[in-house]
């Protein structure tokens, strides 16, 4: 699998993502945000960080980077795209995913391991995840409170587009397990076509048991097949 990790000015999880994809045996390139074409790739990852310093709003300026029109074409052709953290924020700003990501409810930057319940295992990113056991994956963000209007939330539920919800270690979605005030504990959603996933937690930081968790592997293994 040939993969592109998009690098914006201010990306800072690009090397983690590169490492994670190399671990999966992908042939991985860093692609600078001024590039115009992604035709030679099978998969595109938008990594975490603070593109353009989060000026104006997270992801607001990155969405007009030259590479974004190539990403839109790539996504619209049905090829897989993963946005993590700032990458998720960019995907909602471009409209590839619905909703928005707002300042955390408690106003704190939250940096810790969380548990995720996988709500839809019938996607290209979640097929190898266990139904019973939650994923232990870290979050690190100040603006991760998922919001969408009630009609959109209902539509996300109807079409099984909510892939991950914040949960307890017992795999239960409770208000206490919600680190940022996201509606319905939403941690990750997929588009209607099932090829664009955005999530606030960082699976690329959960690749080695020695470093706390290797549950992130399951997402990349699902994708890689």
């Amino acid at each position: 699998m040939k993969s592109a990790v998009i690098v914006f000015p201010g990306s800072n999880c690009d090397h983690d993502m590169h490492h994670a994809l190399c671990e999966m045996g992908h042939e991985v390139d860093f692609v600078w945000h001024k590039s115009g074409s992604l035709d030679s790739y099978d998969f595109v990852a938008l990594p975490g960080g603070f593109s353009y310093g989060d000026y104006l709003r997270s992801g607001a300026i990155a969405k007009f980077s030259p590479v974004m029109s190539a990403i839109l074409d790539f996504a619209n052709s049905g090829k897989p795209v993963l946005g993590v953290c700032n990458g998720f924020q960019i995907l909602v700003e471009t409209g590839l995913l619905p909703g928005a990501l707002l300042r955390n409810q408690n106003l704190r930057f939250v940096c810790k391991n969380v548990y995720l319940r996988t709500e839809n295992r019938n996607t290209i990113f979640s097929g190898k995840i266990s139904a019973e056991k939650p994923l232990k994956i870290p979050v690190a963000h100040g603006e991760g409170r998922y919001y969408a209007d009630p009609e959109t939330i209902q539509s996300l539920n109807t079409h099984k587009q909510i892939v991950f919800r914040y949960a307890t270690s017992q795999n239960e979605t409770t208000p206490a397990a919600n680190p940022n005030g996201s509606l319905e504990n939403i941690a990750g959603i997929i588009n209607r076509d099932g090829n664009v996933l955005g999530m606030m937690p960082h699976p690329e930081r959960a690749m080695e048991a020695l470093l706390g968790s290797e549950d992130g592997r399951l997402i990349f293994e699902s994708l890689t097949g």
Binding site: G99, N104, Q105, Y147, D149
Partner: protein, 82 residues
Amino acid sequence: MKVAVKVRLKPSILDPQGKAVHNALSHLGFSGIQDVRVGKLIELELDDNISRDKADTMIDEAGRKLLSNPVIEDFEIEYLKV
């Protein structure tokens, strides 16, 4: 010509930043404040020769495309000096 674009969170959206400011104001003894919400003020300095109609159209588009996120925010335009 100078234009102010005021960007606000929609009324239905929780504004924890406003709540924190409200708390701080209360601690400082400013009483009688029912609610606080924090927005953004973006000032644009336009070319002198641009017409008001053109400015209206352009800023409206800029407001929708970049300066605000219509999912969560509203904006209004105020001409500061003509």
